[in-house]
């Protein structure tokens, strides 16, 4: 026999299981190709991720460098492919650098919201009763606030920084994720495999995290994609309101805010950052649509 080392013909369980996981994930990634929307979405997101990652290498100018000479003619030209803004800063470079912040803050905020929301949702859905009531009402209270005003209050109070924006987005998006996870948990906790887990004496935490959560991941991942897109919009809106990432770091929303007054003369200054925001949001939405489609198929 050419198979080495496994004594007594005992199956080498750990290796096989690990190989199984790798294969499962490869299969799952491969399935994105099955859906056209998902493929387009992934392409758009991949484009922006590459842009963000390579910004220091491929951006033609430093993001905050002023080209006084270009101020006379800020429109797109050979030297500045997308033109410059009202301070003579290269728009292409600023958009590329801006992708870095958006693509860090939006996914991190979603991840935070997913973790917090899942824990809340699992707890509420699994225990029901008074715990459920408290969590659901708390979520309702957060959700009933007009969010933009909430952001303004919190960020005005704590100051605007990337970390604070992540925190605020986590807090305001967690209730939505919690609701979804709670709904799924209420359904999944009645499954027979949960009863089987109880009968072998598993702890509630194990049941929630190992038995229930993995089976809620389909809708959860779809929703996280959507939420990431919405976060991109919100980060843009915060920038536009002047409570986004502090200047002078480039921020797509902030770029629109600085230049929208000049819309009638030099529309490109605001239109290009807007296009960047829209394309990224569309990318995440298409991915979400595609993932749902693939998920529904099996």
């Amino acid at each position: 026999m050419s198979v080495p080392a496994t004594a007594e013909g005992l199956p080498a369980v750990p290796e096989r299981v690990r190989g199984g996981y790798a294969r499962t994930w490869a299969r799952r990634l491969g399935r994105i190709r099955e859906s056209t929307p998902a493929l387009i979405g992934v392409s758009i997101i991949a484009f922006w991720v590459a842009a963000a990652a390579l910004a220091p290498a491929i951006a033609p100018y430093p993001p905050n460098a002023n080209d006084v000479a270009a101020l006379a003619h800020p429109t797109p030209s050979g030297a500045h492919w997308l033109g410059t803004d009202h301070l003579g800063r290269d728009l292409l470079s600023r958009i590329l650098w801006g992708a870095r912040t958006v693509l860090t803050v939006a996914p991190l905020a979603v991840l935070g919201a997913a973790i917090l929301g899942s824990l809340l949702g699992l707890t509420a859905g699994y225990y029901r009763g008074a715990i459920d009531l408290v969590i659901v009402r708390a979520c309702d209270i957060v959700l009933s606030f007009p969010v933009i005003i909430l952001y303004m209050i919190i960020l005005a109070h704590f100051g605007s920084s990337a970390l604070n924006i992540i925190g605020v987005l986590t807090l305001t998006k967690a209730p939505i994720i919690a609701r979804i996870v709670r709904g799924l948990t209420i359904e999944l906790r009645e499954r027979e495999y949960v009863a089987a887990a109880k009968m072998r004496g598993e702890s509630p935490l194990y049941i929630m995290l190992v038995e229930i959560l993995p089976n809620a991941r389909g809708p959860l991942i779809v929703d996280m994609c959507l939420r990431t897109g919405y976060n991109v919009v919100i980060i843009g809106a915060l920038g536009f309101l002047g409570i986004g990432l502090p200047p002078p770091d480039p921020d797509w929303g902030g770029m629109v805010k600085d230049t929208y007054g000049m819309m009638s003369v030099w529309p490109h200054m605001a239109v290009f950052p807007c296009a960047a925001i829209s394309s990224l949001v569309i990318g995440f939405n298409l991915l979400a649509v595609g993932l749902r489609e693939i998920g529904l198929r099996d």
């Binding site: 299981v17 499954r191 027979e192 495999y193 009863a195 089987a196 009968m199 072998r200």
Partner: protein
């Protein structure tokens, strides 16, 4: 055959088109249905029955197509009909009844509206005339108080009533053909019996042809004149009911009949013979006979080299079979062995004692409300189970049998009463607070193969985790024990790496059994473990449970609604009705008179796949009463066909103690019950017509 058939399939070929290209589900099907005739189509899941039903009305969706042959309905080829012709045919000439009545009824429209819509749309009747027709139809489907039913919404009716409404809707346009796809599968056995009786009667009165699709051979016998047996998209045998059931020629038909448990055999007599292997997927259709790989009579070369023709059998008009060896095989005999010879095991020590067990569910109304009558799910249960025996608990849905299982397992706690498990009182101890040894003592096998295993976990993990928790095993010890357990349930060790989505229903249920065995339990509670499986798979799981139980000398609490399975497997039987045990005793005693009238009705309702055993039925009137308002007297009095009088409604019946622990809760004395019931009972215990 002078009649022109109302429906004729001529070598019809049906395929689905998906990502993998063409999947040919039905390779070429030929059969006819004459006007007024009832034809049954049987076969296991995945054999193409429903595809055929949908193809007849060209309702296959975007992915399915009739790619060859013809499906001719009343002289027109369905494949070439225009959309408006199709619409006219579907509403007026062909009607369909599906398995789930709730899915066929519009939940936001009253039943009356939906019934009246049909004649108003198709015949242009006015509202008043349509209403009169609807009322007439309701009377025909035996729904009392038609006026009030017309004004109700579907959710206000019981499952049986809903299915009657769907049948009324199907028949109100006087269709020439009625297609019924598993119409009674979701219904309780007593309700099923009533619906089948109704179908039989209506089709005679209306001269409607029926295409009756079912996986249950017994229901087909009740309703149909002819039967077609399908396997892997092909009609392997076709003939009249007596031809096929008395002298089945195809090995698959014989296999189906052999693997069915019936009311006249138990585990000590003839064992069930499951059909080995499983259906090949349509993409891997073998050359020659599709059944060859599972057939005991296969002759390599002859059976597997060329397409098998469907040939008529000499001397039997209309009996056709797709088997080259049909003429050579010996005549089939029903595996019915001499009754009685059963040797009883001496009763062992008591492992489970249930005493006056009650479970009340309080209904909460609103946020702070505490009102509402409690639901009495269990109402004073006394039972005893001994080591090494199978105690079966039977009853219709809602009788409390699953609640009882949950209380035993510690997933629910009792409201009052005692449950003594291995000498320890557990009635009010949830499983979380039971010590490890007690958790190990009792394990459960669940009903639904699709939800019994966590789809995110591999088989190896599922069983291994149980070993780690219950027996504190780990590492290589755990791995070898997983392999051993898989071997016990007759699964190959490679399966340990698979996720449940790559297992068949039977394999999932085997894994679930292996998981339950991980802790070496003394008591195994199996809650309807085979009711979601195909008959051939069901037989092998039943055999497996029986084997494991005998080998380990464990107590098996087997919960089921299927009396044939119970008859086969059980040593003791408890019949439950509305949370109470109405009859308890050794299986041989419970399945012979005197019966409790409810047991008698249940037995008479079982669809038996034997054309000779079709006699008069006891049809229970009315639905199961709600468990919130349990009658003062006998719980069964409202539906009892042997009701004596007011005493039944007013006074709780006494428990009649009969020989060897057999007890019946009824006002009628045992001798009287025996006298009444023996009139229509055959010697071997199964009820039959006079």
């Amino acid at each position: 055959m002078t009649d022109t058939p109302i429906l004729a399939l001529e070598n019809a070929r049906i395929s689905y088109f998906g990502r993998a290209g063409e999947v040919n589900v039905v390779p070429g099907l030929t059969f006819r249905v004459a006007p007024g005739e009832a034809m049954g189509l049987v076969g296991e899941s995945g054999c193409g029955k429903s595809t055929v039903a949908l193809a007849i009305v060209r309702y296959l969706g975007r992915a399915g197509r009739i790619v060859g042959g013809r499906i001719v309905f009343e002289g027109h080829d369905v494949a070439t009909m225009t959309v408006s012709e199709l619409r006219a045919m579907r509403g007026r000439r062909v009607a369909m009844v599906y398995q789930d009545p709730m899915a066929s009824l519009n939940p936001v429209m009253t039943v009356g509206r939906q019934l009246m819509e049909v004649p108003m749309l198709h015949e242009g009747l006015g509202e008043r005339a349509a209403r009169a027709r609807a009322l007439e139809m309701l009377a025909e489907v035996r729904l009392q108080d038609g006026e009030s039913v017309l004004g109700r919404y579907p959710h206000q009716l019981s499952g049986g009533q809903q299915q009657r409404i769907v049948i009324a809707m199907a028949l109100i346009a006087e269709p020439a053909l009625l297609i019924m796809d598993e119409p009674t599968t979701g219904l309780d056995v007593t309700v099923e019996a009533a619906v089948l009786e109704l179908v039989r009667e209506l089709r005679q009165r209306h001269r409607t042809a029926v295409l009756f699709i079912s996986h249950n051979l017994g229901t087909v016998v009740r309703v149909c004149d002819r039967i077609g047996v399908m396997y892997a998209g092909e009609l392997v045998e076709e003939g009249s009911i007596p031809q096929v059931f008395k002298n089945p020629r195809h090995p698959y038909t014989r296999g189906l009949l052999d693997c069915l448990p019936s009311l006249d055999r138990d585990k000590r007599q003839a064992p069930l013979v499951p059909i080995p292997g499983q259906v090949a997927p349509p993409l891997a259709r073998p050359v020659g006979c599709g059944f060859a790989a599972r057939c005991a009579h296969v002759e390599p070369g002859r059976c597997t080299s060329q397409a098998i023709p469907v040939l008529p059998l000499a001397g039997e008009a209309g009996h056709r079979v797709q088997c080259v060896r049909a003429a050579e095989l010996p005549r089939w005999e029903h595996a019915r062995s001499a009754a009685g010879a059963a040797e009883e095991r001496p009763s062992g020590e008591v492992t489970l004692r249930i005493d006056g067990l009650e479970k009340l569910y309080r209904q909460r109304r609103g946020l702070f409300g505490s009102g509402g009558a409690p639901v009495r799910a269990l109402n004073g249960i006394d039972l005893i189970a001994t080591k090494g025996e199978t105690l079966a608990i039977v009853g219709e849905s809602g009788c409390g049998k699953s609640t009882l299982a949950k209380v035993l397992a510690g997933l629910e706690t009792a409201s009052s009463g005692h449950v003594e498990l291995a000498g320890i009182e557990v009635a009010s101890t949830r499983v979380e607070s039971r010590p490890l040894a007690l958790k190990r003592t009792i394990q459960m096998v669940f009903q639904n193969p699709d939800s019994t295993l966590n789809p995110s976990h591999s088989v190896g993990y599922a069983i291994g985790r149980a070993l780690r928790r219950l027996r504190r095993l780990s590492g290589s010890e755990e791995a070898s024990e997983v392999t051993r357990l898989l071997d016990i349930v007759k699964l190959p060790p490679e399966l340990a790496g698979r996720k449940p989505d790559r297992l068949s229903g039977g394999q999932k249920q085997r894994v679930a059994i292996a998981r339950a065995l991980a802790g070496n339990p003394d008591v195994i509670v199996a809650d309807e473990p085979v009711s979601a499986l195909d008959v051939s798979v069901q037989a092998s799981i039943i055999n497996l449970l029986n084997e494991i139980q005998a080998e380990r000398d464990a107590t098996l609490i087997f919960i089921s609604h299927d009396l044939s399975v119970v008859r086969y497997l059980a040593d003791h039987v408890a019949v439950m009705y509305l949370g109470a045990v109405v009859e308890f005793g050794r299986a041989a005693d419970v399945f012979a008179p005197p019966f409790h009238p409810y047991t008698e009705a249940l037995l008479s309702a079982v669809p038996v796949p034997d054309p000779d055993a079709q006699g008069t039925r006891i049809v229970l009137e009315g639905p199961l009463p709600s468990a919130t308002e349990i009658p003062r007297g006998c719980p069964f009095s409202g539906r009892c066909p042997r009701r004596v009088g007011v005493i039944c409604d007013e006074t709780p019946p006494p428990t009649l103690q009969l020989a060897s622990g057999h007890r019946i809760v009824c006002h009628i004395p045992a001798e009287e019950l025996t006298r009444l019931q023996s009139a229509g009972i055959r010697g071997d215990g199964s009820p039959t017509g006079s």
